[in-house]
Symmetry: C2
Subunit: 207 residues, 2 copies
């Protein structure tokens, strides 16, 4: 598959959220105009985004909600389940472990790690907090695809490297640190500082 | 001030994070090349971004870390404190109330709201969970600048409208819903589904 821009993937994800809402209301077809409105873009952009992945919809009839939902889920890799470990059993890690969006999107939390002896062994629902020292040793049994990183900033780069050594190929990074990882490892950053500063900028400079 | 692109603000925020780290190590000056590396961009982009806000640095000497940090904090509206209310006292709200990045960046949590009688009155550190029914009535006393939205999807739009009616001018939205608000209200979305799907896409389509 040719290289797809991050902004395209982002919009596909928004179209999917919109389609799932439309489908839940029992609606069977949707126009590119409607999808554009729900995804916050233009109908030309919707058609362009979808054309990258082949032909969808019938001229004048719009898209089948069920068919387009299934195709987008498949394009986005949601047709299977992924194995996720959370590294960092502090407050952010605990909140993420409870996040219903993970299992809903096919992300199964299979392990939680920490380095703090006070946390290791703690029961988190069906899981028990594991010693981060066993990250690499656990890898063949746990076989994690994705690591969710929620550790102190000073530990982030080293933990990312260890997760990669343990076979992880994607990282969801909640630490405000620019991680350096091999090219074949995907990283997404959730940087709260950036979001907060965009708001304070807007409040400061509003008309 | 002329309109500044969201992507520019995002990079200014990353430069600031980098500068604060550099400053904490005791370094006094920084080149645009170093800032570019830390912010994940090019030195030409750094110079272009900063030139929007006036002249910084001396040719050949680089930027003063202290001066540039202060200017960026001022540009980003971090020279003052903001009053924040969290709407939704569930797990996401609880995690956010504990997030140290809020007070560090000048965001003071002054109230938490919920509609669930089982949660109203609960003690959260110095705060008590308030009845969301009093959102508008509280506004003159609490004077919130920013609402953090962490409610169920079905309640998000209505709560956003009520927050705006109560005088809020910026919303940090954790609900995977496209909010519709007046033009003068700034909204930032933290959409976990988008991040997760970007990772599953990358894992599915990697070479």
């Amino acid at each position: 598959m040719k290289r797809v821009a991050e902004s395209t993937i982002r919009r596909l994800s928004l179209y999917l959220t919109a389609l799932e809402e439309i489908g839940a209301r029992g609606t069977r077809t949707v126009s590119s105009e409607e999808l554009a409105q729900l995804g916050g873009t233009t109908s030309a952009q919707v058609r362009k985004d979808l054309s990258v992945f082949g032909s969808f919809g019938k001229r004048g009839l719009g898209y089948s909600v069920a068919e387009l939902t299934a195709r987008l889920r498949s394009i986005l890799g949601l047709g299977r389940r992924w194995r996720v470990c959370i590294i960092g059993a502090g407050k952010v890690g605990a909140a993420l472990a409870q996040y219903p969006g993970f299992p809903e999107r096919g992300f199964d939390i299979v392990a939680v790690y920490d380095t703090d002896p006070a946390r290791i062994g703690e029961r988190w629902g069906d899981l028990k907090v594991r010693d981060a020292a066993s990250l690499e040793a656990d890898s063949s049994a746990l076989n994690c695809d994705i690591a969710v990183l929620a550790v102190p900033a000073s530990a982030a780069q080293r933990m990312a490297e260890r997760a990669v050594a343990a076979g992880v190929r994607a990282i969801l990074n909640f630490v405000p640190v620019q991680l350096s990882v091999p090219r074949n490892v995907a990283v997404r950053n959730v940087n709260m500082a950036v979001e907060l500063e965009a708001l304070s900028f807007a409040l400061t400079n509003r008309g």
